[in-house]
């Protein structure tokens, strides 16, 4: 129970003033600009956009500065801001097959049309601290090579052609939106994907990892991972046609999973899907594993009681703003609650002592 408390205004004001001073740090050190955060801490910006569920790198940079680098606090700030914005509409579904890719790899095919493109990756680095970064910031321009600008086809398309992989039901049904109506379970796959793509990276990662370790194993291969920009198009009623309103950077992961087949389906590969704002490949891979794991009922697989198969467990605990709100509220004044607990414990102790005395 929460009961309002009064008082403490001056202490609270002073605490916030001190917070502002601590946020600034040593005044002898140059102030951090939003452009610096946006350009040089881009992956933090991407995470805040993905989990804040609002694509705006400048706002995410501001939130990171304001939160002193506490990304969950920054995500909270973005979520609070987005509730103040009028909804102007919804885009047409983005066409990831037309993505301008900067990275595109497959763990299942080494020779694939369009090629394997590493992009700006941490893979194959030695994870040794680079002390040159502590000195000066001089970097050489990256190498270039002749590029063809053709669309890069999806790897799953090749498997589709042979009937070796399940087909995706197509359509244009308006998907449910958990920012408009409270999430209801059971959720369809579209609603699950919305919840997972804005879910906490650490939580989704752990859920995915648990499936790899055997809690609801789905034998996932990364069929394809791609990062790049896609155009965002929206139908404008006043114009009567769709226009391009901007572009967003996305990470997309498609897993290819083993499947034995069922009474109605021949043996074929199944799919898990991840799509996340920004360069967020750990999250996108994890998302596709968790998506696949949650599809057990639809695919006629056994429920083994694994957490990653439990839709309620995953979807109700994935949101770090909800989680941190509930977790951290217990530090706020609960004096009335606690007073009643205190009285209860004192009474119980008194009864125990009285009974002991009577027995002696």
């Amino acid at each position: 129970m929460y009961v309002a408390v009064k008082g403490g205004e001056r202490a609270i004001d002073n605490a916030h003033a001190w917070l502002a001073e601590e946020r600034r740090g040593d005044p002898a050190v140059a102030d951090l600009s939003l452009a610096q955060i946006r350009e040089q801490l881009a992956l933090a910006v991407n995470r805040v956009m993905a989990e804040g569920s609002l694509y705006d790198p400048d706002l995410a940079a501001l939130a990171i500065k304001q939160s002193r680098g506490d990304l969950i606090e920054a995500i909270f700030l973005i979520r609070a801001y987005r509730t103040t914005l009028p909804r102007l509409g919804a885009s047409r579904p983005v066409e990831t097959a037309q993505m301008a890719v900067i990275r595109r790899i497959s763990a299942t095919f080494k020779d694939l049309p369009g090629g394997q493109v590493l992009g700006p990756t941490f893979d194959y680095t030695h994870r040794l601290l680079d002390f040159k970064l502590a000195a000066d910031g001089e970097v050489l321009p990256a190498a270039t090579a002749p590029a063809d600008m053709a669309d890069v086809p999806h790897v799953t398309g090749f498997l589709n052609r042979d009937g070796l992989i399940e087909q995706q039901p197509t359509g244009n049904a308006v998907p449910p939106d958990l920012t408009r109506e409270p999430m209801e379970l059971p959720a369809d796959r579209a609603l699950r994907l919305q919840a997972i793509t804005r879910g906490d990276e650490g939580f989704i990662l752990s859920m995915a990892y648990s499936t790899q370790r055997g809690y609801g194993r789905t034998h996932a291969f990364v069929g394809e991972l791609r990062i790049g920009t896609v155009a965002v198009e929206m139908d404008i009623p006043e114009l009567g046609f769709a226009v391009n309103i901007g572009e967003v950077e996305l990470t997309e992961c498609e897993t290819v999973n083993q499947f034995k087949g069922s009474k109605t389906e021949p043996p074929q590969f199944t799919r898990g899907y991840g799509l996340v704002f920004g360069q967020t490949e750990r999250k996108a891979i994890a998302m596709s594993l968790v998506d696949r794991s949650l599809r057990w009922a639809e695919l006629g697989e056994d429920y083994t009681g694994a957490p990653a198969q439990d839709e309620e467990f995953v979807l109700m605990h994935a949101d770090n703003v909800q989680a941190t709100g509930f977790l951290e509220h217990i530090k706020l004044p609960h004096y009335v609650d606690f007073q009643s607990e205190l009285e209860l414990v004192r009474r119980l102790r008194a009864e125990v002592f009285a009974a002991q005395e009577a027995a002696e």
Binding site: Y55, Q116, A145, D151
Partner: protein
């Protein structure tokens, strides 16, 4: 390669270019706005971006992006619309003015002084990214293992 290339009308193409332009760059190329009447004052909002399950299946809601929109009418009567990514009201207004002007007799001049410049810069930016990506293209070779011999 991107969606704006095929099957788009000239107006769709210029609206897209104006939306994707950096606000500062657009203001440099077209600094002074002619008189106009606002039909919808510049307004910041959010658009829900959708994806497709598996890249090609049913739509789902991916997350929102900030968008600023504006509609206005020039003295000539031409109506312009701006829907631009981000929260820059001047950008939306300038895009709407240019959309309206591009429907009139200044179109050829503006195409040369603004749109073609934006298009060339965008193409160069994309080509640079693609060329850097191409330099990281790899060929993986599987090693011969004992059981294959």
């Amino acid at each position: 390669m991107t969606a704006q290339a095929p099957l788009q009308t000239p107006r769709q193409i210029w609206i897209g270019l104006l939306a994707r332009a950096k606000p500062q760059r657009l203001a440099e190329l077209f600094p002074d706005l002619p008189p106009h009447e606002l039909l919808r004052a510049p307004e910041i909002g959010a658009v829900m971006v959708r994806g497709r399950i598996g890249g090609s299946g049913q739509p789902f809601n991916l997350g929102e992006m900030t968008v600023t929109r504006c509609a206005l009418r020039l003295a000539s009567g031409a109506v312009g619309h701006g829907h631009v990514q981000g929260r820059d009201k001047d950008h939306a207004r300038r895009a709407a003015v240019l959309d309206a002007l591009m429907q009139g007799d200044q179109a050829d001049a503006l195409r040369a002084s603004v749109l073609e410049v934006l298009q060339a810069e965008e193409t160069a930016r994309r080509a640079t990214r693609a060329a850097k990506a191409a330099a990281t293209r790899v060929e993986f070779f599987t090693m011969v293992r004992g059981e294959d011999q």
